[in-house]
Amino acid sequence: MSNPTVVRTRRRAFRWSRRDLPGATMAAPGIIGLLAFVAAPFLVAVVLSFYNAQLNSPRSPNFIGITQYSRLFSDPQFWRAFGNNLTFAAVVIPVQTAIALGLAMLINRRLRGISIFRALFFLPVIFPMALVAVIWRLILSRSEDGLLNSLVHFVTFGQVGAQDWLGNSATAMPSIILLSIWQGVGFQMIILLAGLQEIPQERYEAAQLDRASRWQQFRYVTLPGLRNTLIFVVLLTSILAFRVYDQVYILITSGGANKAATQTVLYQATTSVFDQNNLGRASAITVVFFAIVLAITVVQRRVVRQESEA
């Protein structure tokens, strides 16, 4: 069993009671895991970002101070990539959440065969992003036989010619946003559906007795009832949106996507380290990116909390 002396001294220093021990013991594997696999690598990245470190080189890295950071901040490519991240997040977070809510309300009905619709809307979530990117490469193909180009040709009676959706800097990012929403929306939909089903039916009945319109029911019953679920979904979508990488990597490397218009910060970090062995620069990129995303998340949480207090 455990050593009682240790427990007693600890209790004095940290004011622990004996009953905290099982909790601490059970939390320990998780905390150790977090330290070893999240905190430690990140701190190593901070240290490495001050070195000219080459991936797996026999030469020892040399200290170069803040050079990597000063280069990064004066590199238009980095800011362009970060701007792409922001554009992606700014569109995907509201649009994907709204569509997910709409879909969740659509399939939250007691209809014969509704589970088939639920499964169909959820299906893209099961597909790996690599597969989705490869399929959408065919849809967005710039050739006249590309699926989207054929559709546009048909709908406009041939008035609009073939477009290079991924290659054109104006349509490349919207294309990536579109396929990302298509792939990811089912996940948020399922969470929101669960939230919808938690709302007691009596509230709607009461609203109907008060002759509330459909819109009023949505505004004053559904939305407040979904509040916590929505906050969770928005946070989750934000984190996933900033992490966007797979589809960008695949479409740039093999889909002819416009690199300047679609590359993200994570794409730059992985290219630096795996194509160019530049571990120091990749570390600096991830540190800067972490700081920015952390700041955005903190602000987001603060805004949400203020609303709940009001």
């Binding site: 330290l35 905190a39 430690a40 701190l43 190593v44 901070v46 240290v47 490495l48 070195y51 000219n52 470190a53 080459q54 991936l55 797996n56 080189s57 026999p58 030469r59 020892s60 890295p61 170069i64 280069r71 490519q77 490469r137 065919l138 193909s141 710039r142 050739s143 006249e144 590309g146 290079d164 991924l166 290659g167 054109n168 800097s169 490349a172 740039i252 490397t253 093999s254 002819g256 996507a257 416009n258 690199k259 300047a260 290219t271 795996f274 194509d275 160019q276 062995n277 530049n278």
Partner: protein, 439 residues
């Protein structure tokens, strides 16, 4: 207490970082040893086409059956991840024998991941290797790798479509199309084809990868530019010659089929394909006598083409030098080189097999590419007679290829040529400056 926690965390961080740095710096300096010539030999190779894999597996099985002292164990790694796998494996974990992509060799020598093979491979094997083969495998005067095959690059054309459109085409290295002739040929061919396209540049491979550098850096060199000269990229990769070559490349793009299905050429949607030797077997089967082999366009100083391919070296910490050398001797003998080149259509990289090769020797269908390979040179010594140029033999090659290919894909999506190439030049020069020119 909060303070103490922070101090504790930073101690953890510094220790962890120190450990990581230490592990970074302990990787190299490996020394190979001869061993007693018996026992297991670990071999890593890239997983290429099925026919190539079969040829390699046969070679290993036959070698194991032919003697009882040495057992070769072959591990295949998917092609797309192969170089990254070697890059991220520390020297002590690398196998006795490993396959390498030619232009990455200098970087692996720099990182002390490969051993000189001159002491372990027999002199007869070295003497039989073609000049380009030895050239590719030599870094700073020491031989580190030898290949079974070289590579051929040019244009594959559909003779029937060219004739129908009334386009005349070159039949020798000296009569290669100029950039303008090539563009007007593309224009005519695109107008004559229902698809509206004339050229396939294998966009499905991804221009941002090694294909981009291998296939299109010869255009820079043909225009009189280059990727790098005297460890300096500024004024070279973004000099006026290189820019003009890439602007010409950009002007061809309206005629380029996106080729998502990799069938643009065999389906007749385009008349011309930017063509590596590995495409020849499939094209030849689909087109028969209509297939014609042409040199790449001449951008000003004569046509230039690519060379170099997968090659074989030894891990720097191998304790099985003699046994590994015996396996390489076997792999590079006539029987196995012939089997491999029959499987992938590549030009053999040994003198004896090349002389009797049905494809590349005089009178063969790929004679033109065979001649191209005879006029071979290094990227730092390009002459007007030279046709095939090896990619730069420098440890900084990973940065050069990554930056050029990424500039190429920006150019291919309509980006400004000068700014894309200048961006690449700046990044390459920065990396060379940071790493003492990779000396």
């Amino acid at each position: 207490m909060n303070h103490r926690k922070k101090a504790g965390a930073s101690v953890v961080a510094v220790t962890a970082a120190a450990m990581l740095l230490a592990s970074c710096s302990s990787g190299g300096g490996g020394t190979s040893s001869a061993g007693d010539g018996t026992g297991d030999v670990e071999v890593w190779a890239h997983q290429g086409k099925d026919s190539e894999v079969a040829a390699l597996q046969d070679a290993v099985a036959n070698f194991n059956a032919s003697q009882s002292d040495i057992t070769v164990n072959l591990t295949l790694v998917p092609e797309a991840d192969y170089t990254t796998t070697i890059q991220s494996t520390s020297a002590s974990d690398l196998p006795d024998v490993l396959e390498l992509d030619g232009p990455t060799l200098a970087n692996f020598v720099y990182d002390a991941k490969v051993a000189p093979i001159g002491d372990y491979v027999s002199q007869a094997t070295i003497d039989n290797a073609s000049a380009g083969n030895v050239n590719q495998g030599t870094v700073d005067g020491t031989l580190y790798a030898l290949a079974q095959f070289n590579s051929g690059l040019g244009l594959c054309a559909n003779g029937a479509l060219l004739d129908d459109a009334g386009v005349t085409y070159p039949d020798s290295i000296d009569s290669a199309w100029t950039a303008d002739e090539f563009r007007s040929a593309l224009q005519t061919l695109a107008a004559a084809n229902d698809s509206g396209y004339a050229l396939d540049i294998k966009e499905n491979y991804g221009l941002g990868g090694e294909w981009g550098t291998y296939a299109f850096s010869p255009l820079l060199q043909s225009a009189g530019g280059n990727l790098i000269a005297d460890n300096e990229a500024s004024g070279v990769i973004d000099g006026p010659e290189s820019v003009s070559a890439m602007e010409a490349f950009q002007s061809w793009l309206p005629y380029v089929d996106p080729n998502e299905d990799d069938a643009a050429f065999v389906d007749g949607r385009v008349a011309i394909s930017w063509c590596g030797h590995w495409m020849y077997p499939g094209y030849s089967e689909a087109l028969g006598d209509d297939l014609v082999i042409l040199p790449l366009p001449d951008m000003g100083t004569g046509t230039k083409s690519g060379a170099g391919s997968w090659t074989w070296g030894m891990g720097s910490t191998t304790g099985q030098g003699t046994a590994a050398g015996a396996f390489l001797d076997y792999l590079l003998n006539d029987q196995n080189v012939a089997a491999m080149t029959a499987a992938n259509g590549a030009p053999p990289a040994t003198k004896s097999v090349l002389a009797s090769d049905a494809l590349y020797s005089a009178g063969g269908p790929l004679e033109l590419w065979g001649k191209q390979l005879e006029a071979s040179c290094n990227a730092d010594a390009i002459t007007s007679d030279c046709v095939t140029v090896l990619r730069p033999l420098t440890a900084g090659y990973p940065v050069i290829t990554s930056e050029f290919a990424s500039a190429l894909s920006a150019i291919a999506t309509g980006g400004d040529v000068q700014s894309a190439l200048t961006g690449a030049a700046t990044a390459i020069d920065q990396s060379f400056a940071d790493n003492n020119d990779y000396q």
